[in-house]
Amino acid sequence: MRIKPPLTPTLIVIVGLLTISPVLMLAVGSFSEGFGTFGNFTVDKYVEAYTDPELIAVLWNTLIFTLGSAAVATLLALFLSYTNTRTNIPFKFFFGIISIVPMMIPHILFAVSWVLLLNPSNGILNRVMMDLFGLDRAPFNIYSLPGMILVEGLLDLPIAYLIIAPAMSAFDVSLEESSKVCGASPLRTLTRVTLPVLRPAILASVILVIVRCLASFAVPSVIGMPGRIYVLATHIYRIISTGFAADYGKAAAVGMSALAASILLIYLYRYLTSESGKYVTISGRGFKPALIDLKNSKVPLLGVVGLLSFVLIVLPVLVLFYTSMLPYVMVPTAKAFSQMGWKNWTDVLRDPISVLALRNSLTLGLVGATLGVILSIFVSYVIVKVRTTASGILESLSFLSFSFPGIVIGVGFMWFFVRTPLYATVWALLIGYIATYLPYGIRPLSSAFVQIHSHLEESSRVCGANSFTTLRRIVIPLLVPGILAGWILMATMFVRELTLSVVLSRPGSEVLAVQILRFAEDGLWGRLSALGIIMIFLSSFLVIAASVLGRKLAKRDSLED
């Protein structure tokens, strides 16, 4: 497989345009008075943004929110991966489910389901508790920092688990055993050996969750804003969406520090994960750690794990479906069940904006993921197979967007698109999506390319196949699993995309998540739930369809003459 040299520069230009231009426009925008006076240098917006008396509270909230969520997610992940790899707990398949399935449920719907359960005025769980114990005040208030931290922590648990679990299972148990032989108590072994050896993985998990929380918009907007708790993302949102005039200059000025913090953290994360090789102790022999016999604590632990998977997967869907069938939110009683009907569903399907949003999101998912994967194929090829200095630049460029907080980069794109005919079209969203989520396509494809040893291509040439046949018969079929994984990841991300869309979506280019946010702001919980369930179905349908198609493609090729 040989592609002519201009490929690398071309890709650098494309990826550079996608990732650098919004950052550049954000920077230029932050030094401008407004869209009208673009380019006249001024620091007014910085002065305005950073002398804002509310900023201190916002930064404090952001700090507590990100650190708290990172702690919740990482501690839960440590608990889960330890019980999975080190104890004889039954039903280990639960752990796989917990780590993968919650990614399918869009964050905004997860946040909404908790609002429906625990809001102080008519939260279902609050009402039940009040009836049961005769309380006159709701026992829980989700509209609080602890509420935000709990929900965000649960949402980021899969990410933390995917980082910590491999490190835990690669851990060489003899390190612990030798500590025990040296006379250390189990607690001392845990604190002096196990946790220090896992430190890079734990740190990596904490940093990645902090970056995700900085970028998170669903929880801060659905849970934080009704409780008047603003973090950076919602602070920026407030600047551009409320008041008489949206102030994109000030938003850009605030966004610059959020972006800087994110980029810094991501580079720290990459440094840690590249360094972690010397800590993670993988030994070649197939050791099997002696499992800790849980004895009496087996049932309670299993209960905790079961509860977690229920809370993470079943509960949100259940609550949403229940709410979608009711005229207003109420406690599940005989009365509630007698009032159930499909009215919310028909309302949503008759609502022209919801239908438009559905169509836009589907288009963005299908077209965006396809274009994104095609770009990822070329970029991964250059990163993995060409391996020149220029391809190193391309790699850094394409991973830059991994650190982008959606709303900040959305403001950057706004400055960019407002001067082009793309403004307020679905295409603006498409370009923004691909730019922001490019790493999600590149990662599975680069690992697919890594697996294609150059000998596999060379031996095809020696067997008499020309380079085109080699590409068609050897390289592409071997790439199919990677292409499929990249496509599914991108398509599901695009169908549920909220943070970028909330800035770039305009009348006519509505998308599902933004429409759901509008319903939440108006308190239309029934319609919201109906649309939410449709959204979950749409993502699941795309995943299943892509897998079936991919399997067919792979089969057809092997039978082909």
Partner: protein, 362 residues
């Protein structure tokens, strides 16, 4: 088919430095023989193989396979690998994981648009030849290392190539399987009567498999010859040292005796073969392999090529003792029969076989 290589040169640039992988290589690989390119890693042997097959393009030189010139820099001829009609077994075997055994072996025939009926017959024949019949529908990911190796061989043979090339095909197998496969490969290739070019860094493999060996070093061919010539009467000190364990003793030639010469070394005067006709008074190196240094009876003291030594270390390896004997200030390695009563620190007499001591230019 004979392969003729002339003036082949190839440079690689790595981290700004230019490395000469092949340095004006001239070589004729005889038809229907097993020809081995042997050398330490980085000597250019794999690069030479890849030039023959067409996966590398040299900077200058010419390669002809049979009557066809497949590469000539001067005449701007470059036949791509798919048009050279060769077979190759890669170090990693390069079995395509998304195809089953049949599809892997059928691939070269399909690429040449062979009719399906004929493909079936020839694939079955190739698989039978490597004793893998019945494995047609097995997914290639479900094959052991040895089986992958056979499938790779079947795939290389199925299109009846003019030449078959091997790039260290046994280096990924474990020691026991490697020995068995070596024997089988030798049998397969002798049966086929085909030109085979084999690359390895393993001297035992090269000696056991080959009809002819070319030893390479730093991009050049150092010596070409049959295994016995390379082992017993190598022309070069590097080759003598590389092909097997050797005691190399520096000295000066004192006098000639027909085919032999007497050389004065640190341990005394030794008689050895002087096939390179090194003149008296010249510096030379005497090479003797451990198995040709034998224990001698005490009564032989003072005789020709007999030396008195002290056992410095003694390692029991099962089939023999491996002894390091100090003669004067020099340590000599020898193999001693395991039944002989010797002990570390003991004294003994060693006899150097004059017909297996050979002189090399210093």
């Amino acid at each position: 088919m004979e392969i003729r290589i002339a003036g082949l040169t190839k440079d690689f640039s790595s981290e700004g430095k230019r490395i000469r992988a092949l340095d004006h290589v001239d070589l004729t690989i005889p038809a229907n023989r097993i020809f081995t390119l042997l050398g330490p890693s980085g000597c250019g042997k794999t690069t030479l193989l890849r030039c023959i097959v067409g996966l590398e393009s040299p900077d200058s030189g010419e390669i002809a396979i049979g009557d066809e010139i497949v590469l000539s820099k001067e005449r701007s001829i470059f036949v791509p690998p798919e048009k050279r009609g060769l077979g190759m077994v890669f170090q990693t075997y390069a079995i395509w994981p998304h195809m089953n055994v049949f599809d892997n072996v059928a691939y070269p025939l399909k690429s040449r648009n062979t009719p399906m009926e004929e493909i079936r017959i020839r694939v079955a024949k190739a698989l039978a030849f490597v004793q893998m019949e019945g494995f047609e529908t097995r997914p290639s990911t479900k094959l052991s290392g040895g089986q992958q190796q056979r499938v790779a061989l079947a795939r290389a043979l199925v299109a009846e190539p003019k030449v078959i090339l091997f790039d260290e095909p046994l280096s990924n197998l474990d020691a026991k399987l490697r020995e068995e496969t070596r024997k089988e490969l030798r049998r397969f290739l002798t049966e086929l009567n085909i030109t085979a070019v084999y690359v390895t860094h393993d001297r035992v493999e090269a000696l056991a498999l080959s009809d002819r060996i070319a030893v390479m070093r730093a991009g050049r061919i150092v010596e070409v010859g049959d295994p016995k010539k390379i082992y017993f009467r190598s022309d070069s000190r590097f080759v003598a040292d590389f092909i097997g364990r050797a005691n190399l003793l520096r000295g000066r030639v004192v006098m000639l005796e027909d085919a032999h010469a007497v050389i004065d070394t640190d341990i005394g005067t030794i008689v050895g073969l002087n096939s390179q006709k090194i003149a008296p008074g010249q510096e030379a190196v005497l090479c003797v392999r451990p198995e040709f240094i034998k224990l001698a009876a005490t009564g032989a003291a003072g005789g020709r090529n007999i030396f008195r030594g002290k056992v410095e270390t003694l390692l029991f390896t099962g089939e023999a003792y491996e002894g390091e004997i100090r003669i004067g200030d020099t340590l000599v390695t020898t193999t001693i029969s395991p039944t002989v009563p010797v002990a570390e620190g003991g004294e003994l007499f060693l006899s150097f076989d004059p017909d297996h001591c050979f002189l090399l230019p210093a």
